[in-house]
Amino acid sequence: MNTDITASVKPEYPVVDRNPPFTKTVANFNTLDYLRLSTITGVSVTVGYLSGIKPNIRGPSMVTGGLIGLMGGFMYAYQNSAGRLMGFFPNDAEVARYKK
């Protein structure tokens, strides 16, 4: 099964990996990516808690919000990390690390 991904738009920055695998992308998470993940998760947990006050299900609502936020935050961080490897986003650190 051909799962090749190609870019519709030419990347603006140097391409480190045109089609980075999952493990490489996750390993490439930087501080900002972890900050994005934790911020989205934190906001989601807060929204879950606050929305759960009225029906009196604070805990479960927090868990649901946390799950959604964790998933969304991870995907957002993944997108950014893959985007840097593919050359769509500024990637000086990736270029220095992989193209020595």
């Binding site: 999952f22 906001v43 799950l67 995907m75 957002y76 997108q79």
Partner: protein
């Protein structure tokens, strides 16, 4: 397999988020320990959070194609799909924020109906970049199925049940026609291709003569019929007023906006890339003119508040189709401008209607003296109606201006004057609503309750866009120009 994860991460996210919300809603709304709590606002806020996170994912995604299976690019994300994907997500967020208070006021405790609002957005995200007719159909159908269910979500209302049943039965026909036309029988049988790039190579310069080309003609006609039904274009609009009237008001807003955006974007791709030609253009010219005329005339006899908005939606489909019919870059740009402004106006109008219905306003006659009791609501509603009517300096005028200029630019000298005349005629029922609010006495005096905070915020945002886009249209103009160019490149 993980290589696909990046390309479809927004879709994967929203599918998983809606499943989590559905499980959460079902488990805790039926929990005896928690005394069967109503979860509309809880699930609503979590649903809104999911849609905003989805917006973040869709806006931040690199522009990618996905080569899958037989080395065909089934989905292609470019600048035009980027914009067209953001717009339904904004509409979904607006719809969910309308639901909180209106569902509570109507004692409509169905948290699953809020979960069903973000679910078709997943289909829209797949439909908009679809570059193959099978992928397009597989994306249209889940969207339609969700619409049938949310139209009937108010189980205790016979109007809502009727709306859902009617939508299901009438929606099955164009789905079948669409499948018959493009995927299984006609186009594929005549050309052997389902991918839009292959169809473009086969159909460019193809003259429709002979037995094989009659199959292609029937296929193109079927695609047009199937799509026109789903966007409530004349002559396939008759289901719309009843379904819009019977469905819960936030659902009506969603049905008025979201499918029009996604199907218009998809049809642009089908037509421009795949099979545009004189045949399709003539079909859309006719439907544009008919929709504009019917939208202007049919709403005049209406007495309820929601039905004129439904007919207005049909009329606006006609105006938007004008841009599409041109087949030029300016036409596509005006289509995108029209869709964006139409979505803002519709969210604005339908956000006010549930606030009024809380005080049992159902008929136009009940709007009397709204300006005295709730002047801000009256002013906002009037601005929205004037914008619908195309009165400058509001966004509706901006939208029609570009659409008619695009029509004149492509040589459609009959289309533009028809559009202008129908706009003038249609102003009657828009201004009638404003006249009721400011100058008439109501049949019975109603105490209007203050609007809730969520709707107020939504109205503030959409109203400010409606009033500010004409004086400063550059951002929208530049953005849509870029999107239209990428459709052709």
């Amino acid at each position: 397999m993980f290589n696909l994860f990046l390309a479809v991460s927004p879709e994967i996210f929203i599918i998983n988020a809606t499943f989590i919300l559905l499980i959460h809603g079902v488990v805790f709304s039926t929990s005896k320990k928690d005394d069967y709590p109503p979860l509309v606002s809880n699930v609503g806020w979590l649903g809104l959070l999911s849609v905003i996170t989805l917006l973040l994912l869709a806006a931040g995604a690199p522009l990618l194609t996905i080569a899958h299976l037989f080395r065909n690019n089934l989905f292609r994300r470019d600048n035009s799909t980027y914009f067209c994907q953001i717009l339904p997500l904004l509409s979904t967020a607006g719809t969910i924020s309308m639901c909180f208070d209106s569902f509570e006021q109507e004692r409509f405790d169905a948290s699953e109906s809020i979960v069903l609002i973000p679910l078709p957005t997943r289909s829209m995200l797949l439909m908009i970049p679809a570059h193959d007719s099978i992928a397009m159909y597989l994306a249209i159908e889940p969207q339609s199925l969700c619409f049938y269910v949310i139209a009937a979500s108010k189980r205790k209302s016979e109007f809502s049940t009727e709306a859902g049943s009617k939508y299901l039965i009438l929606g099955a026909f164009p789905s079948g026609i669409l499948l018959f036309g493009c995927d299984c029988s006609m186009i594929y049988g005549s050309t052997g291709a389902t991918h839009f790039d292959q169809l473009a190579k086969i159909l460019t310069g193809y003259e429709i003569t002979g037995a094989r080309s009659s199959g292609i003609f029937m296929g193109i006609l079927s695609i047009a019929v199937g799509s026109l039904f789903k966007i409530t274009a004349v002559p396939l609009y008759m289901w719309a007023p009843d379904i819009y009237e019977g469905s819960p008001t936030p659902v009506t807003a969603f049905l008025s906006i979201a499918p029009k955006i996604s199907i218009s974007a998809n049809m642009s791709r089908v037509s421009i890339v795949g099979s545009y030609g004189g045949t399709l253009q003539q079909i859309f010219f006719f439907c544009s003119i008919a929709s504009m005329i019917l939208g202007a005339l049919a709403a005049m006899a209406q007495t309820k508040v929601k039905r004129p908005l439904a007919h207005s939606s049909i009329g606006h489909v006609g105006y938007i189709r004008t841009g599409f019919s041109c087949g030029t870059i300016e036409g596509i740009q005006s289509l995108l401008i029209g869709i964006f402004i139409y979505a803002s106006m519709t969210i604005d109008a339908f956000a006010i209607v549930p606030a009024l219905r809380q005080t049992r306003v159902k008929y136009i006659a009940d709007l009397g003296a709204l300006a005295k009791t709730n002047p801000i609501s009256a002013m906002t509603f009037s601005i929205t109606m004037f914008s619908y009517a195309g009165i400058p300096p509001l966004a509706g005028f901006c939208s029609k201006f570009y659409l008619f200029f695009a029509a004149l630019g492509c040589g459609a000298y009959f289309l533009a004057p028809v559009g202008v005349v129908t706009s003038v005629i249609g102003r009657f029922y828009y201004i009638r609503l404003a006249k009721r609010m400011f100058f008439d006495r109501p049949r019975t005096w109603i105490l209007y309750e203050p609007m809730d905070r969520d709707k107020s915020l939504l109205l503030a945002m959409t109203s400010s866009f409606i009033t500010s886009s004409f004086p400063y249209p550059s951002p929208l103009f530049d953005l849509t120009h870029q999107m239209a160019l990428s459709s052709y490149l």
